[in-house]
């Protein structure tokens, strides 16, 4: 309730700008060193994840510390644009984690516009992701040939079509959002949740069954191979590598080896090495756009309208806010980001099938928004990072650890229990639903506003409770 007026030790330490800059730089340098130096297999790989999370934490510090904006941009670029790809070159695993985290962050940020800003609970968000993914998957693969005669057009379309289709996928997803929104947005919020859920399932069932009478989606077998985007920058990349290699000769302090190594790697990179970095940057670009749009929009007329609708629909109508248009705008904006990410996902995976678009995916993304804090951009990114790493890295690794304990057959002394008897059902990685379910329940009971709540949201949730308690 009351804030202490005497500054804490932390506040005093961070009082000057120089201290803050030194802190963030030291954080980046130390954690980078740890990332490079930690052996991969330490503690079943959990140590690697821990240091990488610490390293990624520098982005969060960067967001919150008060340092000049230009410096923030420079350090942010250094961390996200240089160091992570370099670590990815050292160990592919880091880039994979970073890309997955970014994909889910982008999805969660898109959903955040719908759920967090406009307060419309969408349980079928994955439907728009599906629309984006299938748009490119059908036409960027030989699949389209099955219903379009070859005399008319040859498929797969050339890689160059990736970028026009990127806009098309975004547009189609937005259109789907509007088409879904038109009938259901007039009904109240909890109906909307179930209808969107039904819609998500409906699109999945359609994708699963539209292999007859005309084979459009190839049904449960899925579509492969899907074209990847063109490597238009490859010659520049190689040229830059050659230049870096040449310039690095004669540098002191072993820097020649570091830059020379990077340079020669860049010179000789093959598509298999380039695509992970490429997709990472594409996803990062989408995230940058989502964050930019989210921030700009939340302070704009439409953003305020969303907030008003979220708080009190009747009052908003009385103030002259066109309610259906406002809600549709939220739906379309959120959907379009999902469509863009879906297309990137299809191109990255080269293969998609309806199984990638289940209800559980929608819930996973929703859980990210809720854990982080609805309406709060850093919160949502934090939630996406935490849950993605938990889901894709920590749980599988615990399972691995349990497996090796089981194989070792250690006997717990006092109760005389041989760990080899541990049932094979004891595998946390198999129980994503339980994990997501517990996360949702516990968050709602303990901290409904999320880990890093938007300021207004925190006030609202607690205020509502107090008011209800009085009534």
């Amino acid at each position: 309730m009351s804030k202490s007026t005497t500054p804490s030790l932390w506040q005093r330490l961070m009082a000057t700008q120089n201290a803050r800059i030194t802190f963030i730089l030291a954080w980046v340098v130390i954690t980078s060193y740890l990332v490079v130096a930690t052996p991969r297999q330490l503690a079943f790989g959990l140590a690697t994840q821990a240091v990488f999370i610490l390293f990624a934490g520098s982005v969060l510090w960067l967001y919150y510390l008060q340092i000049p904006n230009a410096l923030k941009v420079v350090i942010g670029f250094l961390v996200l644009g240089v160091l992570i790809p370099v670590f990815g070159g050292l160990n592919q695993y880091y880039l994979e984690v970073a890309t997955q985290v970014c994909i889910f962050s982008a999805l969660a940020l898109g959903l955040n516009i719908v759920v967090g800003f406009a307060g419309l609970l969408d349980l079928g968000y994955v439907a728009f992701y599906l629309v984006g993914a299938y748009t490119w998957a059908i036409f960027g693969s030989p699949q389209a040939q099955k219903f379009i005669p070859p005399e008319l057009l040859k498929f797969p379309l050339a890689q160059e079509f990736f970028f026009p289709f990127f806009f098309l996928a975004t547009f189609l997803a937005a259109l789907t959002g509007i088409m879904l929104g038109l009938p259901v947005l007039r009904v109240r919020g909890d109906y909307l949740a179930v209808v969107t859920l039904g819609f998500g399932e409906l699109l999945r069932v359609v994708a699963n069954n539209l292999d007859k009478p005309v084979n459009i989606t190839n049904g449960p077998q899925g579509i492969t191979p899907i074209q990847r985007p063109p490597l238009f920058f490859r010659s520049w990349f190689e040229g830059f590598g050659t230049a870096l290699h040449g310039a690095s000769t004669g540098l002191p302090l072993g820097l020649d080896k570091v830059f020379g190594g990077i340079g020669s790697w860049m010179e000789n990179a093959n598509p298999a090495q380039l695509y992970p970095i490429y997709f990472y940057f594409l996803v990062l670009l989408v995230i940058a756009i989502v964050i930019f749009v989210s921030r700009r929009v939340s302070d704009s007329r439409i953003g305020r309208a969303w907030e008003a609708v979220r708080e009190d629909e009747d009052a908003a109508v009385a103030m002259g806010i066109p309610i259906v248009t406002t809600k549709l705008a939220a739906f379309a904006t959120g959907a379009s980001f999902a469509g863009a990410m879906g297309m990137l996902f299809a191109a990255k995976q080269v293969f998609i099938n309806p199984e990638s678009f289940t209800f559980l995916e929608s819930i996973g993304v929703l859980a990210m928004v809720i854990v982080g804090g609805m309406g709060s951009i850093p919160g949502v990114v934090l939630g996406a990072t935490a849950l993605t790493v938990l889901n894709l890295q920590i749980l599988p690794n615990i399972s691995l650890a349990l497996n090796s304990i089981r194989q070792a057959g250690y006997v717990i002394p006092v109760i005389n229990y041989n760990l080899a008897q541990l049932p094979s059902q004891f595998e946390p990685a198999k129980y994503q639903r339980m994990v997501f379910g517990l996360v949702l329940i516990v968050m709602m009971l303990v901290r409904p506003e999320g880990l890093l709540p938007a300021k207004r949201r925190r006030v609202e949730i607690h205020q509502d409770k107090e008011v209800e308690a009085i009534v």
Binding site: F436, M444, K465
Partner: protein, 353 residues
Amino acid sequence: MLLYVAGTVFILSALVLILGFIFRDIRTDFNLLERVWLILPQVAVDGISAGFVYAMIALGYTMVYGVLEFINFAHSEIFMVGAFIGAEVLLIMNSAGVLGAVHPLILLLLILLFGMLGSGGLAVTVERIAYRPLRGAPRLVPLISAIGVSLFLQDAVRFFEGIWRNEFYLTYPTIKFFEQRIILSSTIDFSVKSIIVILGAILMLVILNYFVNATKIGTAIRAVAQDRATASLMGIDVNQIIVLTFFIGGAMGGAAGVLFGLQYNTINPFTGFIPGLKAFTAAVLGGIGNISGAMLGGIVLGIMEAYGASYLSIFTSGAFGAEYKDILAFSILIIILIFRPAGLLGQVVREKA
């Protein structure tokens, strides 16, 4: 209730027969009209039994919605747990070797009782842990908590069955009496169990109807649903009524689960999801919060779905199969929401702020 059933079956049968007559020339390999006519009784019985199961699940949604204005998202899992309890009781009796010794009808009563008690108890527990502390929070908060409960229960059952039986797909043991078929003619016969499912469901619904409309506690439930604050001023313990509502809804869901398991034999921890969604659709179709509406909605939806699933592939020469029945249900949901958000029997209620 019987009027609803008879009416829906009559209208839909007439419709498919007319369609069969109109399109009788599109199939040359067999006589379309005759095929339509021959499978009609079987389709009707399937539809009616599915419809009653939906109706029973829908009651759980509608009753809780009536008193709390809250969609109990975990209700589909409460239904699923009921099916599992029924299967477990039968499987345990089977392995103890007493299954054959007990009269099938006593067996049926026994699994219904266990299923209802288990599911009802689970519903009350869930309410106590995950919903009650959130009463009064913004709408989305308990809804999200309910989604969490739903996911949690799916995996909890999977985990438990995985440890206990080392697999989570359970099959109901066959009971000879239920598998017998009543033969009406050389082409028309029903299994005894679909008749039992229908009769069991009708019995439950009649008892519930009597309980809600003619007893004192039922009146209290209806009073709380109408206006919680006023009801509490009239000396009704609102919390108790809410717990009771969850128990009754859960018990109906559990009974539906047991009947569903008997009818379809194989169950798994995710069986609840689609029937749950359909039952919600049924509740909306009938007018959510309205008890006889839920019954109507369930019956209509089940019958429509059975007709759709069976006749779609006949009429389209197999191009669109039975898989599209899920799409039918969701399309109905969306259409109802556009044209009559209050449902068939509901009246238009203004949203409470």
